[in-house]
Symmetry: C2
Subunit: 332 residues, 2 copies
Amino acid sequence: MSQLRRDPITGRWIIVNYEKIVEPEEFSFAKVAKSESIEKCPFCYGNENLTPPEIVAHRKTGDANSPGWTIRVVPNKYPALGALGELRKAGFGIFDRMNGIGAHEVIIDIPEHSKDIADISDGQAEEVIWSYLGRSTDLRKDPRFKYILIFRNYGKSAGASLEHPHSQLIALPIVPKRVNEELQSSLEYFNYKDRCVFCDMLSQEMNDKERIVEENDFFICFAPYVSRFPYEMWIMPKNHESHFVSLQKDEVFPLATILRNSMKKLKKLLNDPPYNYIIHTSPINGHEKEYYHWHIEIMPKLVNVAGFEWGSGFYVNPIPPEVAAKNLVGVK
Amino acid sequence: MSQLRRDPITGRWIIVNYEKIVEPEEFSFAKVAKSESIEKCPFCYGNENLTPPEIVAHRKTGDANSPGWTIRVVPNKYPALGALGELRKAGFGIFDRMNGIGAHEVIIDIPEHSKDIADISDGQAEEVIWSYLGRSTDLRKDPRFKYILIFRNYGKSAGASLEHPHSQLIALPIVPKRVNEELQSSLEYFNYKDRCVFCDMLSQEMNDKERIVEENDFFICFAPYVSRFPYEMWIMPKNHESHFVSLQKDEVFPLATILRNSMKKLKKLLNDPPYNYIIHTSPINGHEKEYYHWHIEIMPKLVNVAGFEWGSGFYVNPIPPEVAAKNLVGVK
């Protein structure tokens, strides 16, 4: 028999399958390719001239746009949005439109072509988080932007257009729909209960203990009770905080290690699956201090989203999150 | 430069790329497999014993569960929801849950293993529509169900688990979130304008003429102004009608042919792409007569949904719908 579960944050239902639980080795997902030659990879040492000039880089040696960096941030060569110009809004019959103003940056956060977050050192993982914070802090100063989205697509089927693992950042002139939905629902919950819905979720997860994957003094990584996807994981700060950029200096290292360790378990258990992870945070100048709680959602791409999911917004998950967490915890 | 467009029905924004328009032959999507041997295919003639016994079939010859059918409807062997039992709802801390009651049926609507909607005759296409209507009408009588979702997944990357093309139907004990969002927004539009938002969209498309793919006396097929995906198409009845099951007898054939013809253009232009199509309709016993308008959304699976889409609800479309429609119309 299956079970339907509903998330109070988004009102989303999932269908959890209990009848025929898929084993980790049974998923037939698209393998992450490792074939592209390093000579032509624009994100490898020595090919810095194949990207637009860097916006910023962490480096101990070398000049700008040359090898020696540990993190390199460049404008996306084929941006979804363009950084130049003024925002212009207009109607078109019943529709609205505007020009595509925004920043689209690539954060090349691992110099090695075939390493991912799972494979890097504590120190490099910490640099990744610092780069996210640095770019966020910088772009928040541009008054045209209302939201900064940081995400990582790993593997072609998860939307990565280049093999060399990397993160991306998009700064948007509006608060996106998906974020507004979360803000709206968490405000409603707060108005009703005078508590943050994410804090309540956190305390339920910490009491149940059944779905926790990793934990340290500052963060928890768990398979959410309402996981849309098999082996979905969320990383959440234990202390209530609405903005990712409010991360304290002493929280950077714990965040880096919980992210790296969780990704390592996922990679090992499922044999290097494609995935997306996304930082969910409050809008720039957002006033959600009390009711929103930033977090990272990690969504492995093990199954294909089909007509039922598109038509209903229901997700069918072939692995109860309790089983997913148990399997992940068991990875040595 | 890219353009942002917003849909009044869902509030969804898309980013349309104008800079580097992808040609039809440039998409590198997962090919639809045709390798599975017909001997073992549960949806081919002679293998009727490999599925659960049929619920209903259209046939000119043969007994139940034997060859000779043109349409065969069977319960899904691995249903997302189970048809037996009473609905039980409960809380679980901050979450809601219920048991997985529902019907999950497979509509084997093409006897030939390697033919799809694009390849069938007018008569067979008409039977497909009749089978959708027949199952909908039947399942609406079950008081446990609130919504009937009919969809088609074609190709593994679009979520099809078997090669032999088929449609599916899921009857749900609740109105799904995605449908509620559409209903809510179209009600708001109606309250404000006293008109159906879909009728307004239809009249704008018919005036602009730029995005129309196919048309007959009763239906229009167009690439919507706010297409999330490259070559997305919507089929909409010209006369306002909220429920798919209200389809009149003389509308069945025109619907069948516009669907078949549109799918034929898509298949030919893009070399047999995977896709999902979904019938969007009012809930059972829904009172949306005035403000909701049923339609079919056809979503080719040419690109992968990535972190940006998941995190924002924005979709990046590499083909302006105007170009998509022009290319589709040009298919001979």
